[in-house]
Symmetry: C2
Subunit: 515 residues, 2 copies
Amino acid sequence: MAETDEAAPPTDQLGTMDLTTDTSLNHAFSDRVLIRSIVGRPDGGAGLAGKRVRVGGWVKTGREQAKGTLAFLELNDGSCPANLQAVVDAGVAVPKKLVAMGTCVVVDGILKIPPPPPQKQGTKQRPQRIELGVEKVLHIGEVADPAKYPIPKRNPTLEYLRDHLHLRSRTNTIAAIARIRNALAFATHSFFQEHHFLYVHTPIITTSDCEGAGEMFQVTTLINEADKNPNPQAKQLGIPKKKDGKIDYTKDFFARQAYLTVSGQLQVETYACGLSNVYTFGPTFRAEHSHTSRHLAEFWMVEPEIAFAELNDAMNCAEAYVKYLCKWLLDKCLDDLQFMDDKTCVDRLRMVAETPFVRISYTEAVKILEESGQRFEHRVEWGIYLASEHERYLTEVQFQKPVIVYNYPKGIKAFYMRLNDDLETVAAMDVLVPKVGELIGGSQREERYEVIRERILEMGLPLEPYEWYLDLRRYGTVKHCGFGLGFERMILFATGIDNIRDVIPFPRYPGRADL
Amino acid sequence: MAETDEAAPPTDQLGTMDLTTDTSLNHAFSDRVLIRSIVGRPDGGAGLAGKRVRVGGWVKTGREQAKGTLAFLELNDGSCPANLQAVVDAGVAVPKKLVAMGTCVVVDGILKIPPPPPQKQGTKQRPQRIELGVEKVLHIGEVADPAKYPIPKRNPTLEYLRDHLHLRSRTNTIAAIARIRNALAFATHSFFQEHHFLYVHTPIITTSDCEGAGEMFQVTTLINEADKNPNPQAKQLGIPKKKDGKIDYTKDFFARQAYLTVSGQLQVETYACGLSNVYTFGPTFRAEHSHTSRHLAEFWMVEPEIAFAELNDAMNCAEAYVKYLCKWLLDKCLDDLQFMDDKTCVDRLRMVAETPFVRISYTEAVKILEESGQRFEHRVEWGIYLASEHERYLTEVQFQKPVIVYNYPKGIKAFYMRLNDDLETVAAMDVLVPKVGELIGGSQREERYEVIRERILEMGLPLEPYEWYLDLRRYGTVKHCGFGLGFERMILFATGIDNIRDVIPFPRYPGRADL
């Protein structure tokens, strides 16, 4: 935090600082200092007493001691959960109201440690926080009618905030989640870059369907065009159709039916089969009418793909990656984590960061569940999908640590997963963690041409759309594996937040796509 | 590269290495060594002579000296542009053909420097490359019928490769572009993280239209549903309609008309007005029937947004960011850059990394163009859009360095750009660079409620869809600015590649969305 010492003397203009003389990263291209660079110091900012700085932020709470004399503003600029108290005394000419919550201000002043308040007998003196003695108010962005400010002062619920997406980043919880999400995203890139994976941008618009199932959104320019000139009499849209009554997609933008991707896996495999180690990290989509707290129509996935590697390598990579994320958060976001309502999240991250993951086969997992004496809603027997209650029993009750379940029955898994020698199971693996259950799903991919061709047919899928995928097996096939991590699930795990709609900035779900 | 010394002794199985003992990053979760960790060393791998390693890769070229005796394989695993030569002698039992281009092999062997060939009189002895004496072939992924391998041996054109997206990453040029693209993506995150910007995932599916213009793709589940049960007699799709004949979007997935985003700017502004410094980096879309070498229907944009900052800060940030990208590439990807057909790209990157950008107003730019004596296709006068020919004249001919043009006429720019005091221009800026012209477009945003409201009306736009955007100005408004960098344009600039379809892994354009 030594950069703060470099803070240039404030000027009257915002943003006039020359970048070439700005050696302080904390300025971030304007001549204010981030509040984090003051109050985020190990000494709470005490060592900066006497320094002259410019800060900007939004008023969290403000009060005037007596009209027009002394104002105290708790300022937050989003750089950290803590506020900086700014004190504006009567000597500072202030043209407008300052104290309303949500007001934006930019001020120059001198950092100081205020004199201790009169000490009550028997109480322990708390160290005084650093505060800013304001010398000049440079900008006020008023809240003209504070009664109409959409964010209530006292603990708005997360549900309420979902109806005010454009302002919710100003609240403590959503801001903390945003910083944690940012940290996890950069940690993701750092991890894979350190391990020599190449980031590949797989397509959002696709003409392939990864799973051979799943509801997909359609991407089109046809109906918008048709809708421009409606004809109420004809009761017919001007959408081009073929003789059989079906839509003629040769007239659509891509000359065929196109969708939003449900996974970048199949496409990223084409890059793994040439560049060895790759990953994709981007948005994926499901058009499922699911109203649960665990599903979104638009969500982000991290999908690494490793060539020259088998299922065990995928498990090693997944475990190392999840541990890396946990350590990163504990290192960079402890203040935000400690701010969360879920007071167990720091311990949970520590446990996962430090504990070797249990690895058991699906068959062993089913045996454990059968012998658990537990009454599950969904009956347990070999061959079933593991339900969330089963997964959480394994990781939360049985082992109380992360669990990797591998070698699933082929009947419940996708065609591209490698058939094991028993011909009954495939080399799939899921990583289960406390709080969210399944965090990661992955597999070794079937690299044998004859076997995967048979599997496609066996599952009743047409071969034609997969010819390009089969080519990867026809021409220089390679053993490879990969997995997908649901990025929002990782954030739920880290923060203890219950509803997935609160951990993505702009949640999309049935009936809602605000902004 | 010291990690290579840690290489564990090869075993018979792929992927059996225990992660806990794997201290070598170059393994990347399988027990092979990346070819880059051998041939990418400053000594070309010479210092590793005598080491036992496992490598995997695809055969670039292979030849047999005499049937079944001695085979030479140029292996590439995508980790760097250079190949490693593997020599398989008669002592190694090989069940199948090895030498066909595209064959995948995993081999164990000992690195060695071959004896120099007999020296011709008068020629200078070239240092011998390190090669791998193969002891065991662990895996062969055959190209069963080499005549059918879709990638021709000799210089396939980039245009030809566009018809074989799933295999083109195995070619030298596309692989080099992939590594450069990866480096630029990680450099982007590194730059903004170092400067304390938070990465915000703005939505892909949106119900807002950033520019109030531009062709957008529609996202729907309506017609797919209707198309499942066509009725050729009725000549009517089962799409729900309102009385006026228009489609009833309340029945669509999001209960209203939804689109693919054209920019994350407006949404990321909501986070800037709470968290100060943010950026978004994600896919954006245009449904324009544009068949040029400069346009894609799906492309990636980097859009930072800085609060408490003005136009000059945006220019400083843009210049620092572009310079950072150039330096990063020169530092990390020199071998790939030198591999490009465009032999000027290294010099161009150096020039941009080292040269202060020229900054001129739009008015000055027009004056320079008018007085240039140049015959332009598009007539120059104050008030016009600058065409690509004008932009390239400024940056390539007039200044021969990057140029930032600022303060454009308000009539040709978007409603959200801040009106200057002259009431004629807005605080917009474009960064122009040689080779591609406009690389970045940005502006200070209009933070004054009354002014932006007036601008929306002046441009004939409805107020209602922008009420949330106006709220940012109603409640604690802040001066802020930002810009967008077209990520593929940056890659065109860096690589000298001519067609944008070759610098994105899966290009989408009218009529094509392969895979």
